[in-house]
C-alpha cells in the first residue's frame, strides 16, 4: 500500500545560490557590455571618451526609452511593433499643427494625445477584438507611418527654435535625454519590481488565464500598457523632433528592430512572463557601444545590419536556453 503522505518526490532540490544569481539573462548582457567596452577601446582610441559615448547615447535615447516600456509589454505577453511609426506620426502632427499656428504647448499636447490615441487603437484591436498583437501592430505600423506621410508629404517640417536642442541641455555634464532615460528606467524598474501593477504584469505574462482566475484584470493591465506605449512613443517622437529641429515622415524608420533588440538582448523572454528593466537598461548601453564602436571603426553599415540581425537571433536563443535550463 502506498498510503504514505509523501509522494515519490515532493519537490526538486533548489538550485544553488550562485546559479540563481549568475545564470540569468541580465548577466549575459552585463558580460557582453563589458566585453563590448573592452573591444571598443582596443579598436579605437576615441572610444573611451565618455562625453562621446554619452553623446552617442542621446542618438539612441529615444528608442531606448520606448524599449523600456516595450519590455513591460513583452513581459505581459504582448508585443508592439508600431512605436517607431507612432513616433513619426505624433511628431509630424505636432510639427504640422504648430506650423499651422497652434501655440507650442498646445501642439505638444496634440502630439502626446495622438500618441495615446494610437496606443489606444492598438489596445482596442488587441484586447477588444482579440486579434494577436503582432499582426495588429504590423498593420498599424504601416498605417501610422502612412498617415505621417500623408500629413508631411516628404518635406521636412521645422519646429520652432525654442523647442530645439533637448540634446544640448546638460544636467551635471550629462545630456538631458540620457538623464530622462535613466529616470524612466528607475521609475519603471520600481513599478515592475515593487508594485502590484508590476507583479500583475508578470502574472498576466506567465499565464493569462490563471491571472484572470486569480482576479487580475488582465484586459485593463494590457490596455494600460498599450497606452503607456503610445505615450512614451509620442514623447520619444517629440524628443527626436527637438533634437533634429525638424521632422519628416521617415523619423525613426526601422526603429522597431532596435527596440525589440534592446528588450531581447536584455533577457526579456519573448513568450512573456520574464524579463527585467535592468536587463533592457544594460542592453541599451550595450547596443550603443556596439553600434558606435562599429561606426567609429568605420565598419561598413552592411556589417552593422548583419551584427544586429545576428545579435537578435543569438540573444533569443540564449535567453530561451537559460530559461529552459533554470526551469524544470
Amino acid at each position: 500500500m502506498t498510503e504514505t503522505s509523501a509522494t515519490a518526490r515532493d519537490a526538486a532540490p533548489p538550485r544553488p545560490l550562485w546559479q540563481v544569481l549568475l545564470i540569468r539573462p541580465e548577466m549575459m548582457t552585463l558580460i557582453l557590455l563589458l566585453v563590448g567596452i573592452f573591444a571598443g577601446s582596443q579598436l579605437s582610441e576615441f572610444f573611451l571618451d565618455t562625453d562621446y559615448i554619452l553623446k552617442s547615447f542621446t542618438l539612441s535615447a529615444e528608442f531606448a526609452m520606448v524599449a523600456l516600456v516595450l519590455t513591460l509589454v513583452i513581459i505581459a505577453g504582448e508585443i508592439d511593433l508600431s512605436p517607431a511609426a507612432n513616433m513619426a506620426l505624433s511628431a509630424c502632427l505636432f510639427a504640422w499643427v504648430q506650423a499651422a499656428g497652434v501655440p507650442l504647448p498646445l501642439a505638444v499636447l496634440v502630439g502626446l494625445g495622438a500618441g495615446l490615441a494610437m496606443g489606444a487603437l492598438n489596445g482596442a484591436l488587441v484586447i477588444g477584438l482579440q486579434i494577436p498583437s503582432i499582426i495588429v501592430t504590423i498593420g498599424t505600423l504601416i498605417l501610422y507611418r502612412g498617415l505621417a506621410q500623408i500629413i508631411a508629404g516628404d518635406k521636412s517640417i521645422r519646429v520652432p527654435e525654442s523647442f530645439v536642442g533637448i540634446n544640448d541641455v546638460m544636467v551635471a555634464g550629462i545630456p538631458l535625454p540620457v538623464i530622462l532615460f535613466c529616470l524612466l528606467a528607475l521609475v519603471l524598474g520600481l513599478l515592475l519590481g515593487t508594485t502590484i501593477f508590476g507583479r500583475q504584469i508578470y502574472l498576466v505574462g506567465t499565464n493569462e488565464v490563471a491571472a484572470r482566475h486569480a482576479g487580475v484584470r488582465s484586459a485593463r493591465i494590457r490596455m494600460i500598457l498599450f497606452l503607456m506605449m503610445g505615450l512614451v512613443s509620442a514623447v520619444a517622437g517629440l524628443m527626436t523632433a527637438s533634437r533634429l529641429g525638424s521632422v519628416r515622415y521617415d523619423l525613426g524608420l526601422g526603429g522597431e528592430l532596435q527596440m525589440v533588440l534592446m528588450a531581447m538582448l536584455g533577457g526579456t523572454y519573448i513568450f512573456g512572463g520574464r524579463g527585467t528593466i535592468l536587463g533592457t537598461f544594460l542592453a541599451a548601453w550595450l547596443l550603443v557601444i556596439v553600434t558606435t564602436g562599429m561606426i567609429v571603426a568605420n565598419v561598413l553599415p552592411a556589417w552593422q545590419l548583419c551584427v544586429l540581425g545576428l545579435l537578435l537571433i543569438v540573444s533569443i536563443i540564449a535567453t530561451n536556453l537559460i530559461y529552459s535550463r533554470t526551469q524544470r
Binding site: 508585443i79 484591436l125 477584438l129 482579440q130 486579434i131 494577436p132 503582432i134 499582426i135 495588429v136 504590423i138 498593420g139 498599424t140 505600423l141 504601416i142 498605417l143 501610422y144 507611418r145 502612412g146 498617415l147 506621410q149 500623408i150 508629404g153 516628404d154 488565464v209 484572470r212 482566475h213 515622415y249 528592430l257 525589440v260 531581447m264 519573448i270 513568450f271 561598413l300 553599415p301 552592411a302 556589417w303 552593422q304 545590419l305 548583419c306 551584427v307 544586429l308 540581425g309 545576428l310 537578435l312 537571433i313 533569443i316 536563443i317 530561451n320
Partner: protein, 329 residues
Amino acid sequence: MTGWRSLLLRRETGIAVMIVLFCLAVGAVKPQFLTLNSLRIILLLTPLILIGAMGQMLVIVARHVDLSIGSILGLTAMVAGMMFRYAPEVPWPLAFPLAIGLGAVLGLVNGALVTLFRLPAIIVTLGTLSLYRGMTFIISDAKQIDRQYVPSALKAMSQTSPVFGIPWIIFIAFGVALLTWWFAMHTRIGRQVFALGSNPVAAPLRGINVTRVTLTVFAISGALSGLAGIMYASRWGFVNPSNTGNGFEFQVIAAVVIGGVSINGGVGTVPGVVLGVLLLGCVSAALPLLGIPGTTQSAIYGAVILIALVIDRMVRMQGRTRGTQRAGA
C-alpha cells in the same frame, strides 16, 4: 445551407465583389480605367507580390510568419545580378535555379531556427531580415547591378508575350499560383500544412512530421522569394542592394491578410489570395489615374490590412463554437 448561400458567404466572393465595386467606382470617374490596357497595367503590378504571397500564405497557414522575404528577394536578385555581371559566360537561364535554390536555403535557415530552437518566427525573421540585407550589401560591395548587365532576354520576359500580349512573368506568376493551389489542396504535405496550423498540438499526435512541414513552408517561401528576385531583375532591369525588395514583406502580408488567410493558422485559399493581390493591384493602379499622390498608398495599405483583420475577426466571432467559448480560449 444551400450551395449559393455558402458561395455568397465565402471570403473569395466578398473580395471579388469589392474588386468589381472598386473598379466601377473608379471607372465612373476615369473611364480609361475600364480598358484592356489598364487590366494589363494591373496585371503587370501583381506578379512579384503574387509569387511572394503564395509562399507567405503557406507560412501563415502553418501559423508562422516570414518577415525576411524582402531581404531574401534582395539577396537572391543580387546574387543573380552578380552572376550576370561577373560571369556573363554562364547561360543566363541558370540564374533561375541559382536564385530559387539560394532562396530555399535562406528559407531553410529561418525554418531551422524556428523548429530546432523553438523560436517564434516573427523574431527569427526580423533578425534574418536584417542579416540577409546586410549580406546583400557585403557581397555586392554596396554596388548596384546596372541595367546593362541584366540580359536582354530576361528583361524581355516582362514585355514579350507568348499569347494575347500577356508578358511571360504574368504567366509565371499565375503558374506559381496554380502550382501552389495544387500543392495546398492535392498533396499530402500540403494538407498537413493546414492541419499543422489548425491544431499544432494535435499535429504530431496524428503522425504529422512537424519539423518537415515547417521546414518545407519556410523553404517554399524562400524559394518563391528567390524566384521573385529574378523576376525583379527582369521587371526593373537592375538590382540595388538597398532598394530591391525593401518593404516587399508588408505588401505581401497585406495581400495575404486581405485574401482571407487567417493569422491564427489553418485557413486560407489560393483563389482568395490571388484576389487579394488583384485588389491591391487595382488600388495601386487607380491612385495615379485619379491623381491621388503616391504618399497615401502606405496608409491605404495599412488601413486595408486592419479592416480585413477586423472583418475576419467579426466573422469568426459570429461562427464561434462551443469549444472556443471556453474561458481558456
